[in-house]
């Protein structure tokens, strides 16, 4: 079953519970099997399966959070600023990353997972998620930054030493 581990991992890190992730992945394969005739020849099978995954995920999510208000994604103050980089913990454990990732709003989390774990290109992400390329880039940038901030917070709460990569930035002015 091609790409099963990758689809499961992504679903698991985006769904709220493992049962939801399992339902999602199951639906992806059934849907892929039913609509194989719609698979465009010459395109990437992995990208196609992820497209179905996100289609199902967004459908689920609309059901889960009908009433929930979604914050606007791109605010002007979200622009990269040299001053705002969070320190990176010296030692990063898997559980710290997963906890921090859970705190990153899902709109950003999904783009970060596609880019950094699945290594899809910007163009493939834009097609998979039906987003403009510019939105993919800004969400990725913002998402990575949020993950780093959350990671610093999580590490601090466990008393893990934060790296001095930022503290030393330009300190001898």
């Amino acid at each position: 079953m091609a790409h099963f581990p990758a689809l499961y991992r992504t679903a698991r890190l985006l769904a709220q519970e493992s049962a939801e992730a399992e339902d999602l992945v199951q639906e992806v394969y059934l849907e892929a099997w039913k609509s194989f005739h719609r698979f465009e020849r010459g395109t990437n099978c992995r990208a196609w399966l992820f497209k179905i995954l996100f289609h199902r995920l967004h459908h689920f999510r609309r059901r889960w959070a009908k009433a929930a208000k979604v914050e606007p994604f791109e605010k002007p103050e979200d622009q990269d600023s040299i001053m705002a980089e969070a320190p990176v913990p010296q030692e990063i454990r898997d559980e710290n990353v997963l906890e921090a990732l859970g705190k990153v709003p899902i709109e950003f989390r999904e783009v970060v997972l596609l880019a950094d774990v699945q290594e899809f290109s910007y163009k493939e992400i834009a097609e998979t998620m039906k987003l403009p390329l510019g939105t993919v880039m800004s969400r990725l940038s913002r998402g990575r930054k949020l993950l780093r901030q959350e990671l610093a917070g999580v590490a601090e709460s466990y008393g893990i030493r934060l790296g001095n990569n930022q503290a030393r930035t330009g300190e001898s002015a």
Partner: protein, 285 residues
């Protein structure tokens, strides 16, 4: 708040490129700008290191999430159940594919006369490589002719018969990170051609290594797309039907590595396999 002592405008500009740099999405010229700056600016180099570290940690944590085997089996059961009701549509698809293939061949033949030599060469290469892709798609992907738990080597050797049993070990040995689930001799419907087919799982996907007697079909001279680093075997590559395929000629055989892994990985795998397979096929006579 830190005070910045570097050329903050320049740093600001470079840092806006760092995300795209990490994703390998920058133009070549911008990449060299970034690299030049990183050589001079310790603060930005540290910043890149910090971002790479988080990215690496995320990838590691994500990859350590193990997909449950029971789920895989449950999905496969559901798929098998729905496959029964799906045969009609699948047959229509096979006809459509065959027709599309025919149209491509006809159009290709007509257009070829007008194309420049290199393009012509590439098309011939793609046409030959399509032999491997069709077997991979029909046998491994759509036919799902492999078990979830690898067949034992003794069984695979038996399926391959005395002539090719020895090749099994050579393929397994030169496919690091992959496990051979299945090996057999098969053919694509409508063609008398026989394929020696190895189906392997690894890197989150299914990959095929396919050998078929060249029987007069050959990869054309002078259109080698990349020279193999191992020995004197030349590699040919193409992207067909969503698959990357790397091909080589070997002692009266055509060899193919077909997968949906990226082009470079597919080429690297073929590169590692080509020479040992060459030697093994020579031994089989």
């Amino acid at each position: 708040m830190n005070v910045l002592n570097f050329d903050s405008k320049q740093c600001e500009r470079i840092r806006q490129c760092l995300d795209a740099y990490l994703s390998n999405e920058l133009l070549v010229e911008t990449t060299s700008d970034v690299l030049r700056h990183l050589e001079r600016c310790e603060a930005c180099a540290r910043e890149l290191e910090a971002r790479s570290k988080v990215r690496e940690a995320l990838r590691r944590a994500a990859e350590n999430q193990i997909a449950p085997e029971e789920l895989r089996q449950a999905i496969q059961r559901r798929l098998r159940e729905s496959r029964i009701g799906f045969l009609g549509a699948s047959r229509r698809l096979a006809w459509a594919l065959a027709l599309a293939g025919l149209v491509i061949v006809v159009l290709g033949t007509v257009a070829m006369q007008h194309w420049i030599k290199v393009v012509e060469g590439r098309r011939i290469v793609a046409g030959v490589l399509a032999l491997g892709v069709s077997d991979h798609l029909q046998c491994a992907i759509k036919g799902h002719n492999y078990p979830d738990i690898a067949n034992p080597p003794e069984l695979l050797r038996k399926k391959l018969g005395p002539q090719y049993a020895g090749v099994l070990e050579v393929v397994q040995k030169n496919l690091p990170g992959f496990e051979i689930l299945e090996a057999h001799i098969c053919s694509v419907q409508g063609s008398p051609r026989k394929y020696v087919h190895f189906i392997a799982r690894g890197h989150g996907t299914i990959l095929s290594v396919i050998l078929t007697k060249s029987e007069g079909v050959q990869l054309p001279n002078g259109t080698m797309l990349r020279s193999g680093a191992s020995g004197s075997v030349d590699l040919y590559e193409a992207h067909l039907e969503g698959m990357n395929v790397a091909g080589f000629e070997s002692k009266g055989y055509l060899g193919f590595v077909v997968s949906d892994l990226n082009r470079d990985t597919t080429m690297q795998i073929a590169n590692a396999l080509a020479s040992p397979l060459n030697a093994a096929l020579q031994a089989t006579g």
